[in-house]
């Protein structure tokens, strides 16, 4: 890097493993192309970055150029009849929801935060609470326009399906998405009808999910990963469908009213070890007890059901100076024993995760490096800085890999590189495809270099 460039230190949402890069923020597709051309000429590395919600190092590029894509956010075409939208990839799902919900439209897939860009949603092939029925975001993408060092490419299932599937879940390494066209879902109201139930242990939880998930569009469970013994894996299961007009009752002024708000914001990094075994165990106990044994037909708003954490601004600061990491994996159906072993190891190691989310996955993502495969997925927030955490996660990687599962790369910051090939069997064919659009390896993120995904 030359001494005069504006250098910024970037990390993921977990605020760990930072690296410095120069930042560019194009405001037009031409600008984007110019940046890539210049990078190729000067032999600099480039990585795309959206809203920085990857937990690890997927959107940073030590010593290189990071392209902040949030300036390319225009909605290009909204077809209400065919329920399709064509949008620049820097647009956030938050902005799109504000536009779409009042019009009676919803995103086909939304992850746990609305503060991700369309490009990020594609790069991570995000999944939501409806994965068991509707698959991941990529399944609803009809076409995308990609800018790579070799130029501008259009990828769709008709024209260049290989590039499309290399890009879905491709972590930004096949090019920078300039625009995407995807389908939308009709909704009658901005509310959901939610059924909540408590499960007394892991077996109970899995059984409830297996038995009736398919009756709902959305389903997810919160799991108490500090509970031990006969309470191991106890949790709260919430399942929902979009509310019909009638469910709202009379006198509701605007059935499609949508007003997400950040109610409170964390002002500065919390003191170290605010979130520890004791505080989190107490939180988990209270959270579990607070949930009803059974409650049916509760109306919840979209922000409350889908994006509860977005209500707390800068919630990642609660983890203090050391930051945190997310560990998310999936193991196939039939490998419930492996899932149980992981939950046991976490509970006995007293790992203080207050946010442990369990879900049943449906069909695999099409992307070569797409994470979801049919099975059970568990996602955990883990405070960093505790001795023994790194070794524990290495052990869990082994359990997951042996069970035929994988770890989610969009959340990763420390996966064992030697297990990547077995977790992602389509890696080699993905590498070949990538070389077609980026033969000189200009596109490289810290994650890609760390895990050996590139060259």
């Amino acid at each position: 890097m030359s001494g005069r460039e504006r250098r910024v230190v970037l990390s993921g949402w977990g605020r760990a493993a930072p690296s410095a890069a120069s930042i560019e923020r194009p405001t037009s597709p031409k600008g984007l192309v110019a940046i890539l051309e210049r990078a190729a000429r000067e032999r600099r590395r480039v990585a795309a970055r959206g809203l920085g919600r990857s937990y690890g190092d997927a959107a940073q590029c030590a010593g290189g150029i990071v392209v902040d894509c949030t300036g390319l956010d225009q909605v290009l075409e909204l077809d209400l009849g065919r329920r399709r939208i064509r949008v620049r990839a820097g647009a956030s799902l938050d902005a799109l929801l504000r536009l779409l919900v009042p019009k009676g439209l919803f995103l086909p897939v939304t992850p746990g935060t609305r503060h991700v860009t369309v490009g990020g949603a594609i790069a991570a092939d995000v999944h939501g609470k409806n994965h068991h029925r509707d698959g991941s975001f990529g399944a609803h993408v009809e076409e995308l326009v990609l800018v790579s060092p070799t130029g501008r490419h259009v990828a769709s299932r008709a024209a260049d399906p290989e590039l499309l599937t290399a890009t879905l879940g491709g972590l930004g390494l096949t090019g920078i998405v300039e625009e995407a066209t995807f389908s939308l879902v009709p909704i009658a109201t901005s509310r959901l009808v939610v059924d909540t139930e408590r499960a007394r242990d892991l077996e109970d939880l899995l059984a409830r999910m297996a038995e009736r998930d398919d009756e709902y569009r959305y389903s997810v469970a919160w799991l108490d990963c500090l509970a031990r013994g006969r309470h191991l894996g106890r949790g709260v299961l919430t399942r929902a469908d979009h509310a019909a007009r009638e469910a709202l009752g009379v006198g509701r002024r605007d059935p499609l009213a949508y007003d997400p708000r950040t109610r409170v914001s964390v002002p500065f990094p919390a003191p170290a070890r605010l979130l520890n075994e004791v505080s989190v165990a107490a939180f988990n106990e209270a959270w579990y007890r607070r949930a009803p044994r059974v409650r049916r037909g509760e109306l919840q708003s979209i922000p409350r059901f889908f994006h509860p954490l977005d209500g707390v601004g800068r919630w990642n600061l609660l983890y203090g100076r050391s930051g945190f990491t997310q560990y998310q994996f999936v193991v196939p159906f039939g490998a419930e024993e492996a899932l149980r072993r992981v939950v046991e190891r976490l509970a006995s190691a007293r790992v203080p995760s207050f946010l442990a989310v369990l879900k049943r996955f449906g069909p695999s993502g099409e992307g070569h490096l797409s994470f979801p495969t049919p099975g059970w997925t568990l996602a955990l927030d883990l405070p960093l800085g505790r001795p023994g955490l790194a070794a524990l996660l290495d052990d869990l990687d082994e359990v997951v890999a042996e069970a035929g599962g994988r770890v989610y790369l969009a959340k990763d910051g420390r996966l064992r590189p030697d297990l990547i090939a077995s977790m992602y069997p389509r890696l080699e064919s993905w590498r070949t495809l990538r070389r077609r659009v980026d033969p000189d390896g200009v596109l490289a993120t810290d994650l890609a270099r760390r895990l050996g995904l590139v060259p």
Binding site: M1, R7, A17, A21, G56, L384, R414, R450
Partner: protein, 253 residues
Amino acid sequence: MNDVTGMPQSAVVLGGSSDIGRALLRALASRRLERVLLAGRDPASLGETAAELRALGVGTVEVAPLDVTDVGRLEAFADSARARLGEIDLVLVAAGVLGAGGIDELDASAVASSLTTNLTGPAAASVAFARVLRAQGSGRLVVLSSVAGYRVRRANFVYGAAKAGLDGFALGLGDALAGSGVEVMVVRPGFVRTKMTSGRPEAPLALEPADVADAIVRGLERNASVVWVPASLRIVFGLLRLVPRALWRRLPV
């Protein structure tokens, strides 16, 4: 790349024969360490450490002669290290010799030589590598200081002074590197049983090199900027600092 738990994939050790360096590399080899460059003055010892690391499964282990007091060569050495290893995630500055202790054994050149080996050389090498890491936009410098530098004692005041200087230098360098993606960790061990201290009278709470290595690994996991080994010494020396001078100079240690 260093991962979010602070574990490096590549490392350079300046003072590659150091027992502490060896113990640290052993510990890191069980994590993500794949590429190592050992730099030092004793080729036989470097070779032994290299063999051990290869046996532990570290894929690439390179060895290079290096005298940190040859400051004119340090920039080129740092560049060549980068070329050989690819990206450098961690640089351990472990060069140092204890040297003569009491006033009777010292003369001007002995002092100059000791300060060059223990302060000037390591500081210059730190800066040479900091330059490389800055260009990378990432990386960690781990500088071995000592409690001996926290408040210099008459029993080894030349070594202590060098460590005091190196300690302040490393902290300042860390501050200067803020915003560059490069971090500095200063390690302050108490008495460690190593080649360097063999034959000397042991202090209470003597440590093994592996103890220091473990503390460094935990420091990497926590992204700490200062690591005392053992941690309790932070309090102990914090208090010792307050001892009045007239008393301090009479302490038997």
